[in-house]
Protein backbone atom coordinates (compact mmCIF):
# COMPACT_ATOMS: atom_id res chain seq x y z
CA UNK A 1 0.00 0.00 0.00
CA UNK A 2 2.79 2.39 0.90
CA UNK A 3 4.32 1.78 -2.53
CA UNK A 4 1.45 3.51 -4.22
CA UNK A 5 2.14 6.75 -2.38
CA UNK A 6 3.60 9.19 -4.87
CA UNK A 7 5.85 12.09 -3.96
CA UNK A 8 2.99 14.38 -4.64
CA UNK A 9 0.97 12.84 -1.86
CA UNK A 10 3.84 13.27 0.52
CA UNK A 11 4.32 16.88 -0.48
CA UNK A 12 0.73 17.53 0.32
CA UNK A 13 1.30 16.15 3.80
CA UNK A 14 -0.36 18.63 6.14
CA UNK A 15 1.49 20.61 8.73
CA UNK A 16 1.09 18.98 12.09
CA UNK A 17 -1.63 20.08 14.43
CA UNK A 18 0.92 21.41 16.90
CA UNK A 19 2.69 23.48 14.27
CA UNK A 20 -0.55 25.11 13.26
CA UNK A 21 -2.34 25.44 16.55
CA UNK A 22 0.31 26.34 19.11
CA UNK A 23 1.12 29.76 17.61
CA UNK A 24 -2.42 30.74 18.61
CA UNK A 25 -1.95 29.81 22.24
CA UNK A 26 -1.98 33.42 23.47
CA UNK A 27 -5.17 34.14 21.55
CA UNK A 28 -6.77 30.97 22.93
CA UNK A 29 -5.72 31.70 26.49
CA UNK A 30 -6.76 35.33 26.27
CA UNK A 31 -10.28 34.41 25.13
CA UNK A 32 -10.58 31.69 27.78
CA UNK A 33 -9.34 34.07 30.44
CA UNK A 34 -11.81 36.80 29.51
CA UNK A 35 -14.65 34.29 29.64
CA UNK A 36 -13.66 32.39 32.78
CA UNK A 37 -12.04 35.30 34.67
CA UNK A 38 -9.96 32.72 36.58
CA UNK A 39 -6.46 31.80 35.57
CA UNK A 40 -6.59 28.16 36.61
CA UNK A 41 -9.96 27.64 34.91
CA UNK A 42 -8.74 29.37 31.78
CA UNK A 43 -5.72 27.04 31.65
CA UNK A 44 -7.95 23.98 32.03
CA UNK A 45 -10.22 25.25 29.29
CA UNK A 46 -7.34 25.87 26.90
CA UNK A 47 -5.75 22.50 27.57
CA UNK A 48 -9.06 20.71 27.08
CA UNK A 49 -9.73 22.72 23.91
CA UNK A 50 -6.38 21.78 22.39
CA UNK A 51 -7.02 18.08 23.00
CA UNK A 52 -10.45 18.36 21.39
CA UNK A 53 -9.05 20.37 18.53
CA UNK A 54 -6.42 17.73 17.86
CA UNK A 55 -9.08 15.01 17.82
CA UNK A 56 -11.16 17.06 15.41
CA UNK A 57 -8.21 18.18 13.32
CA UNK A 58 -9.22 15.91 10.43
CA UNK A 59 -12.36 17.97 10.02
CA UNK A 60 -10.33 21.16 9.69
CA UNK A 61 -10.11 22.26 6.07
CA UNK A 62 -7.08 24.44 6.54
CA UNK A 63 -8.33 27.91 5.66
CA UNK A 64 -8.06 29.70 8.98
CA UNK A 65 -6.78 28.09 12.12
CA UNK A 66 -7.45 30.89 14.59
CA UNK A 67 -11.26 31.15 14.21
CA UNK A 68 -11.56 27.38 14.10
CA UNK A 69 -9.49 26.94 17.25
CA UNK A 70 -11.15 29.82 19.10
CA UNK A 71 -14.57 28.36 18.32
CA UNK A 72 -13.52 25.22 20.20
CA UNK A 73 -12.02 27.23 23.07
CA UNK A 74 -15.21 29.18 23.33
CA UNK A 75 -17.45 26.12 23.38
CA UNK A 76 -15.35 24.46 26.07
CA UNK A 77 -15.40 27.67 28.09
CA UNK A 78 -19.18 27.98 27.90
CA UNK A 79 -19.60 24.40 29.00
CA UNK A 80 -17.25 25.09 31.91
CA UNK A 81 -19.22 28.19 32.82
CA UNK A 82 -22.42 26.14 32.83
CA UNK A 83 -20.80 23.53 35.08
CA UNK A 84 -19.55 26.24 37.39
CA UNK A 85 -22.99 27.76 37.56
CA UNK A 86 -24.61 24.44 38.38
CA UNK A 87 -21.93 23.58 40.91
CA UNK A 88 -22.44 26.80 42.80
CA UNK A 89 -26.20 26.70 42.31
CA UNK A 90 -25.86 30.33 41.58
CA UNK A 91 -27.82 31.68 38.68
CA UNK A 92 -25.89 34.50 37.15
CA UNK A 93 -28.06 37.01 35.30
CA UNK A 94 -25.55 36.64 32.50
CA UNK A 95 -26.98 33.27 31.68
CA UNK A 96 -30.33 34.82 31.05
CA UNK A 97 -28.75 36.83 28.29
CA UNK A 98 -27.22 33.69 26.90
CA UNK A 99 -30.54 31.86 26.78
CA UNK A 100 -32.21 34.79 25.15
CA UNK A 101 -29.53 35.04 22.55
CA UNK A 102 -30.37 31.51 21.50
CA UNK A 103 -33.55 32.99 20.11
CA UNK A 104 -31.37 35.30 18.10
CA UNK A 105 -33.23 38.49 18.89
CA UNK A 106 -32.91 39.21 22.56
CA UNK A 107 -35.21 41.87 23.84
CA UNK A 108 -33.76 45.28 23.25
CA UNK A 109 -31.42 46.31 25.99
CA UNK A 110 -32.64 49.90 26.12
CA UNK A 111 -29.11 51.02 26.57
CA UNK A 112 -28.43 52.78 23.35
CA UNK A 113 -31.60 54.79 23.28
CA UNK A 114 -31.74 55.18 27.03
CA UNK A 115 -29.27 57.97 27.39
CA UNK A 116 -28.27 59.76 24.26
CA UNK A 117 -26.59 62.13 26.65
CA UNK A 118 -24.55 65.16 25.81
CA UNK A 119 -22.12 64.55 28.63
CA UNK A 120 -18.90 65.17 26.87
CA UNK A 121 -15.92 62.87 26.84
CA UNK A 122 -17.02 60.65 29.68
CA UNK A 123 -14.27 58.24 28.91
CA UNK A 124 -10.83 59.37 29.85
CA UNK A 125 -8.11 57.60 28.01
CA UNK A 126 -5.77 55.40 29.98
CA UNK A 127 -7.87 54.06 32.82
CA UNK A 128 -7.09 50.38 32.32
CA UNK A 129 -8.36 49.26 35.70
CA UNK A 130 -11.73 50.90 35.18
CA UNK A 131 -12.05 49.46 31.69
CA UNK A 132 -11.17 45.98 32.94
CA UNK A 133 -13.82 46.20 35.65
CA UNK A 134 -16.38 47.49 33.18
CA UNK A 135 -15.59 44.62 30.82
CA UNK A 136 -15.91 42.18 33.71
CA UNK A 137 -19.38 43.48 34.37
CA UNK A 138 -20.48 42.93 30.77
CA UNK A 139 -22.36 39.67 30.20
CA UNK A 140 -20.00 36.95 28.85
CA UNK A 141 -21.99 36.64 25.64
CA UNK A 142 -21.22 40.26 24.86
CA UNK A 143 -17.76 40.17 26.41
CA UNK A 144 -16.57 37.44 24.07
CA UNK A 145 -17.76 39.40 21.03
CA UNK A 146 -15.88 42.48 22.26
CA UNK A 147 -12.70 40.50 22.93
CA UNK A 148 -12.79 38.93 19.46
CA UNK A 149 -13.38 42.29 17.79
CA UNK A 150 -11.22 44.73 19.75
CA UNK A 151 -8.43 42.55 21.11
CA UNK A 152 -8.20 39.89 18.41
CA UNK A 153 -9.09 42.40 15.70
CA UNK A 154 -11.25 39.85 13.90
CA UNK A 155 -13.57 40.63 11.00
CA UNK A 156 -17.30 40.11 11.39
CA UNK A 157 -16.98 37.01 9.20
CA UNK A 158 -14.34 35.50 11.47
CA UNK A 159 -16.31 36.32 14.61
CA UNK A 160 -19.34 34.67 13.02
CA UNK A 161 -17.26 31.51 12.59
CA UNK A 162 -16.09 31.55 16.19
CA UNK A 163 -19.52 32.18 17.64
CA UNK A 164 -21.34 29.95 15.17
CA UNK A 165 -23.90 32.63 14.30
CA UNK A 166 -24.73 34.60 11.13
CA UNK A 167 -22.87 37.83 10.45
CA UNK A 168 -26.01 39.86 11.04
CA UNK A 169 -26.11 38.52 14.56
CA UNK A 170 -22.48 39.49 15.08
CA UNK A 171 -23.38 43.01 14.04
CA UNK A 172 -26.29 43.40 16.44
CA UNK A 173 -24.47 41.61 19.23
CA UNK A 174 -21.47 43.91 18.97
CA UNK A 175 -23.73 46.92 18.92
CA UNK A 176 -25.42 45.85 22.14
CA UNK A 177 -22.10 44.75 23.63
CA UNK A 178 -20.58 48.19 23.09
CA UNK A 179 -23.66 49.88 24.47
CA UNK A 180 -23.44 47.72 27.58
CA UNK A 181 -19.71 48.29 27.99
CA UNK A 182 -20.28 52.02 27.74
CA UNK A 183 -23.03 51.90 30.31
CA UNK A 184 -20.99 49.79 32.74
CA UNK A 185 -18.06 52.10 32.32
CA UNK A 186 -20.19 55.13 33.10
CA UNK A 187 -21.72 53.46 36.14
CA UNK A 188 -18.30 52.57 37.50
CA UNK A 189 -16.88 55.97 36.68
CA UNK A 190 -19.76 57.59 38.51
CA UNK A 191 -19.38 55.22 41.43
CA UNK A 192 -15.74 56.02 41.89
CA UNK A 193 -16.55 59.70 41.86
CA UNK A 194 -14.35 60.52 38.92
CA UNK A 195 -17.38 61.70 37.01
CA UNK A 196 -20.01 64.21 37.91
CA UNK A 197 -23.64 63.16 38.29
CA UNK A 198 -25.41 62.29 35.14
CA UNK A 199 -26.92 65.26 33.42
CA UNK A 200 -30.61 65.45 32.81
CA UNK A 201 -30.46 65.60 29.02
CA UNK A 202 -32.54 62.73 27.78
CA UNK A 203 -34.39 63.67 24.64
CA UNK A 204 -34.29 61.94 21.31
CA UNK A 205 -33.63 64.19 18.41
CA UNK A 206 -35.32 63.13 15.24
CA UNK A 207 -33.78 64.36 12.04
Amino acid sequence: MMVSLGNEAILRAPKSFEQQALPHLDAAYSLAFWLMRERADAEDVVQDAYVRAMRGFDGFRGDAMRPWLLAIVRNVAWRALAVRRRATNNVIPIEAAYTRAGEDEPEPMTIASDEPSVETRLIEAGDRALLTRALDAVTPLFREALVLREIEGMSYAEIATVLGVPQGTVMSRLSRARAELRQRFKELARGTGSQGPRSGENGNHAV
Binding site: D26, V46, Q47, R79, A80, R86, S113, G126, I151, E201
Partner: protein, 253 residues
Amino acid sequence: MRCEEVQDLASAWLDNELSEPRASMVAEHEAGCEACHAYVTDLRILAEQMAQLGREPAPPGLEERIRLTLAEEARPSVAPSARIGRFPSRGTVQWLTSMAAVCLLSVFGTWSVVRQPDAVASTQHDVVAAHVRSLLQNSTIQVPSSDSHTVRPWFAGKVEFAPPVKDLTAEGFPLIGGRLDYVDGHRVATLVYHHGLHTISVFVWPETSGSAMSRPPAQVEGLNVLSWSKDGMVWWAVSDMEPGELKELRSLL
Protein backbone atom coordinates in the same frame (compact mmCIF):
# COMPACT_ATOMS: atom_id res chain seq x y z
CA MET B 1 -33.00 58.68 10.90
CA ARG B 2 -33.80 58.70 14.58
CA CYS B 3 -31.14 58.84 17.28
CA GLU B 4 -31.97 55.31 18.44
CA GLU B 5 -31.39 53.88 14.98
CA VAL B 6 -28.19 55.82 14.57
CA GLN B 7 -26.88 54.56 17.91
CA ASP B 8 -27.87 50.99 17.04
CA LEU B 9 -25.88 51.25 13.82
CA ALA B 10 -22.99 53.26 15.22
CA SER B 11 -21.02 50.16 16.14
CA ALA B 12 -21.15 48.64 12.65
CA TRP B 13 -20.50 52.06 11.16
CA LEU B 14 -17.31 52.45 13.20
CA ASP B 15 -16.21 49.01 12.00
CA ASN B 16 -16.84 49.97 8.36
CA GLU B 17 -19.26 47.07 8.16
CA LEU B 18 -22.31 49.17 7.30
CA SER B 19 -23.41 49.26 3.68
CA GLU B 20 -24.83 52.22 1.78
CA PRO B 21 -27.09 54.07 2.00
CA ARG B 22 -27.20 53.53 5.74
CA ALA B 23 -23.54 54.42 6.27
CA SER B 24 -24.05 57.88 4.76
CA MET B 25 -27.24 58.38 6.72
CA VAL B 26 -25.46 57.61 9.97
CA ALA B 27 -22.54 59.86 9.05
CA GLU B 28 -24.85 62.73 8.18
CA HIS B 29 -26.87 62.42 11.36
CA GLU B 30 -23.84 62.01 13.57
CA ALA B 31 -22.24 65.14 12.19
CA GLY B 32 -25.24 67.23 13.12
CA CYS B 33 -26.40 65.64 16.37
CA GLU B 34 -24.53 66.37 19.57
CA ALA B 35 -25.92 63.41 21.49
CA CYS B 36 -25.12 60.89 18.78
CA HIS B 37 -21.72 62.40 18.22
CA ALA B 38 -20.97 61.98 21.92
CA TYR B 39 -22.19 58.38 21.78
CA VAL B 40 -20.06 57.54 18.77
CA THR B 41 -17.06 59.19 20.40
CA ASP B 42 -17.56 57.07 23.51
CA LEU B 43 -17.66 53.89 21.46
CA ARG B 44 -14.57 54.90 19.54
CA ILE B 45 -12.58 55.64 22.69
CA LEU B 46 -13.71 52.40 24.34
CA ALA B 47 -12.71 50.41 21.26
CA GLU B 48 -9.27 52.02 21.22
CA GLN B 49 -8.83 51.43 24.94
CA MET B 50 -9.79 47.79 24.62
CA ALA B 51 -7.39 47.28 21.76
CA GLN B 52 -4.68 48.70 24.02
CA LEU B 53 -5.52 46.23 26.77
CA GLY B 54 -4.14 43.58 24.46
CA ARG B 55 -4.20 39.85 24.91
CA GLU B 56 -3.86 38.24 28.27
CA PRO B 57 -0.63 36.30 27.65
CA ALA B 58 -0.66 32.57 28.33
CA PRO B 59 1.17 31.76 31.56
CA PRO B 60 4.68 30.34 31.22
CA GLY B 61 4.67 26.58 31.13
CA LEU B 62 1.20 26.23 29.62
CA GLU B 63 2.58 25.61 26.15
CA GLU B 64 4.86 22.88 27.45
CA ARG B 65 2.00 21.26 29.37
CA ILE B 66 -0.16 21.29 26.26
CA ARG B 67 2.63 19.75 24.18
CA LEU B 68 2.92 16.96 26.72
CA THR B 69 -0.82 16.42 26.83
CA LEU B 70 -1.02 16.29 23.06
CA ALA B 71 1.86 13.84 22.86
CA GLU B 72 0.22 11.72 25.53
CA GLU B 73 -3.06 11.88 23.65
CA ALA B 74 -1.47 10.90 20.33
CA ARG B 75 0.54 7.98 21.66
CA PRO B 76 -2.00 5.12 21.79
CA SER B 77 -3.04 5.50 18.17
CA VAL B 78 0.48 5.76 16.75
CA ALA B 79 2.22 2.72 15.35
CA PRO B 80 5.49 2.13 17.26
CA SER B 81 7.52 1.25 14.16
CA ALA B 82 6.68 4.54 12.53
CA ARG B 83 7.79 6.51 15.57
CA ILE B 84 11.39 5.37 15.48
CA GLY B 85 12.85 6.72 12.26
CA ARG B 86 13.47 10.44 12.08
CA PHE B 87 15.76 10.41 9.07
CA PRO B 88 13.23 11.28 6.41
CA SER B 89 11.76 14.77 6.62
CA ARG B 90 9.55 15.42 9.61
CA GLY B 91 6.53 15.89 7.39
CA THR B 92 7.01 12.50 5.77
CA VAL B 93 7.34 10.76 9.08
CA GLN B 94 4.27 12.45 10.41
CA TRP B 95 2.35 11.67 7.28
CA LEU B 96 3.36 8.01 7.29
CA THR B 97 2.66 7.83 10.99
CA SER B 98 -0.81 9.16 10.56
CA MET B 99 -1.43 6.83 7.60
CA ALA B 100 -0.30 3.89 9.70
CA ALA B 101 -2.52 5.05 12.52
CA VAL B 102 -5.46 5.33 10.15
CA CYS B 103 -4.85 1.79 8.86
CA LEU B 104 -4.57 0.42 12.38
CA LEU B 105 -7.65 2.29 13.48
CA SER B 106 -9.72 1.12 10.56
CA VAL B 107 -8.63 -2.47 11.03
CA PHE B 108 -9.30 -2.28 14.74
CA GLY B 109 -12.54 -0.39 14.17
CA THR B 110 -13.85 -2.98 11.72
CA TRP B 111 -12.74 -5.76 13.97
CA SER B 112 -14.44 -4.30 17.00
CA VAL B 113 -17.63 -3.48 15.12
CA VAL B 114 -17.84 -6.98 13.67
CA ARG B 115 -17.05 -8.49 17.00
CA GLN B 116 -19.30 -6.26 19.05
CA PRO B 117 -22.68 -7.85 19.65
CA ASP B 118 -25.53 -5.65 18.49
CA ALA B 119 -26.98 -5.44 21.97
CA VAL B 120 -23.85 -3.90 23.38
CA ALA B 121 -23.64 -1.45 20.51
CA SER B 122 -27.19 -0.34 21.07
CA THR B 123 -26.63 0.00 24.82
CA GLN B 124 -23.56 2.12 24.14
CA HIS B 125 -25.55 4.23 21.74
CA ASP B 126 -28.31 4.71 24.31
CA VAL B 127 -26.02 5.77 27.15
CA VAL B 128 -24.04 8.17 24.99
CA ALA B 129 -27.26 9.69 23.67
CA ALA B 130 -28.63 10.02 27.21
CA HIS B 131 -25.45 11.71 28.41
CA VAL B 132 -25.37 14.16 25.51
CA ARG B 133 -29.07 14.91 25.86
CA SER B 134 -28.60 15.70 29.54
CA LEU B 135 -25.85 18.17 28.68
CA LEU B 136 -28.06 19.90 26.14
CA GLN B 137 -30.78 20.45 28.67
CA ASN B 138 -30.71 23.07 31.37
CA SER B 139 -29.87 20.55 34.02
CA THR B 140 -28.18 17.17 33.89
CA ILE B 141 -30.06 16.04 36.96
CA GLN B 142 -33.60 15.61 38.25
CA VAL B 143 -32.72 15.29 41.91
CA PRO B 144 -29.91 17.61 42.87
CA SER B 145 -28.06 16.46 45.92
CA SER B 146 -24.61 15.50 46.99
CA ASP B 147 -26.16 13.41 49.78
CA SER B 148 -26.43 9.75 48.87
CA HIS B 149 -29.25 9.42 51.43
CA THR B 150 -31.33 11.84 49.40
CA VAL B 151 -30.53 10.48 45.97
CA ARG B 152 -31.01 6.79 46.76
CA PRO B 153 -34.58 7.04 48.11
CA TRP B 154 -35.52 9.29 45.20
CA PHE B 155 -35.08 6.32 42.88
CA ALA B 156 -37.42 4.13 44.98
CA GLY B 157 -40.60 3.56 43.03
CA LYS B 158 -39.06 4.96 39.86
CA VAL B 159 -36.89 1.96 39.10
CA GLU B 160 -37.32 -1.64 40.24
CA PHE B 161 -34.02 -1.80 42.05
CA ALA B 162 -32.05 0.17 44.59
CA PRO B 163 -29.03 1.66 42.88
CA PRO B 164 -25.82 1.88 44.89
CA VAL B 165 -25.22 5.59 45.47
CA LYS B 166 -21.91 6.85 46.79
CA ASP B 167 -20.70 10.37 47.29
CA LEU B 168 -17.08 10.57 46.23
CA THR B 169 -16.42 14.23 47.01
CA ALA B 170 -13.39 13.34 49.10
CA GLU B 171 -11.98 11.37 46.19
CA GLY B 172 -12.41 14.27 43.78
CA PHE B 173 -15.68 13.12 42.21
CA PRO B 174 -18.47 15.07 43.94
CA LEU B 175 -21.94 13.56 43.49
CA ILE B 176 -24.18 16.15 41.87
CA GLY B 177 -27.43 14.23 41.78
CA GLY B 178 -29.43 11.65 39.91
CA ARG B 179 -31.85 11.27 37.05
CA LEU B 180 -33.76 8.60 35.16
CA ASP B 181 -32.81 7.47 31.69
CA TYR B 182 -34.16 4.97 29.22
CA VAL B 183 -31.58 2.48 28.02
CA ASP B 184 -32.23 -0.73 26.09
CA GLY B 185 -35.94 -0.40 26.71
CA HIS B 186 -35.60 -0.14 30.49
CA ARG B 187 -35.64 2.65 32.99
CA VAL B 188 -32.21 2.92 34.52
CA ALA B 189 -30.77 4.99 37.33
CA THR B 190 -28.22 7.62 36.37
CA LEU B 191 -25.86 9.19 38.86
CA VAL B 192 -24.14 12.40 37.89
CA TYR B 193 -20.67 13.18 39.16
CA HIS B 194 -18.31 16.03 38.49
CA HIS B 195 -14.57 15.89 38.19
CA GLY B 196 -12.97 19.26 37.70
CA LEU B 197 -14.79 20.75 34.76
CA HIS B 198 -16.05 17.39 33.52
CA THR B 199 -19.50 15.93 33.97
CA ILE B 200 -19.80 12.16 34.21
CA SER B 201 -23.01 10.20 33.75
CA VAL B 202 -22.92 6.82 35.51
CA PHE B 203 -25.72 4.51 34.40
CA VAL B 204 -26.57 1.52 36.54
CA TRP B 205 -29.09 -1.31 36.32
CA PRO B 206 -29.31 -4.93 37.46
CA GLU B 207 -27.40 -7.55 35.56
CA THR B 208 -29.40 -10.15 33.69
CA SER B 209 -28.01 -13.58 32.91
CA GLY B 210 -25.33 -13.34 30.31
CA SER B 211 -25.03 -9.58 30.46
CA ALA B 212 -21.99 -9.63 32.71
CA MET B 213 -19.05 -8.03 30.99
CA SER B 214 -16.10 -5.81 31.38
CA ARG B 215 -14.92 -4.11 28.26
CA PRO B 216 -12.03 -1.85 27.37
CA PRO B 217 -12.78 1.85 27.22
CA ALA B 218 -14.38 2.99 23.98
CA GLN B 219 -14.54 6.37 22.37
CA VAL B 220 -17.73 7.61 20.80
CA GLU B 221 -18.06 11.07 19.29
CA GLY B 222 -15.25 12.40 21.40
CA LEU B 223 -16.68 10.95 24.60
CA ASN B 224 -15.09 8.18 26.56
CA VAL B 225 -17.25 5.24 27.54
CA LEU B 226 -16.43 2.59 30.10
CA SER B 227 -18.61 -0.33 31.15
CA TRP B 228 -18.25 -3.05 33.74
CA SER B 229 -20.18 -5.40 36.00
CA LYS B 230 -20.01 -5.38 39.75
CA ASP B 231 -22.16 -6.68 42.60
CA GLY B 232 -24.86 -7.90 40.24
CA MET B 233 -25.15 -4.52 38.56
CA VAL B 234 -24.20 -3.35 35.07
CA TRP B 235 -22.41 -0.02 35.06
CA TRP B 236 -21.77 2.37 32.19
CA ALA B 237 -19.87 5.61 32.61
CA VAL B 238 -19.83 8.30 29.92
CA SER B 239 -17.82 11.51 30.04
CA ASP B 240 -15.44 13.76 28.20
CA MET B 241 -12.88 12.85 30.87
CA GLU B 242 -9.77 10.92 30.00
CA PRO B 243 -10.11 7.10 30.02
CA GLY B 244 -7.63 6.93 32.92
CA GLU B 245 -9.86 9.13 35.06
CA LEU B 246 -12.90 7.02 34.16
CA LYS B 247 -11.05 3.94 35.35
CA GLU B 248 -10.23 5.74 38.58
CA LEU B 249 -13.94 6.45 39.07
CA ARG B 250 -14.75 2.80 38.31
CA SER B 251 -12.39 1.67 41.03
CA LEU B 252 -14.14 3.97 43.51
CA LEU B 253 -17.70 2.93 42.72
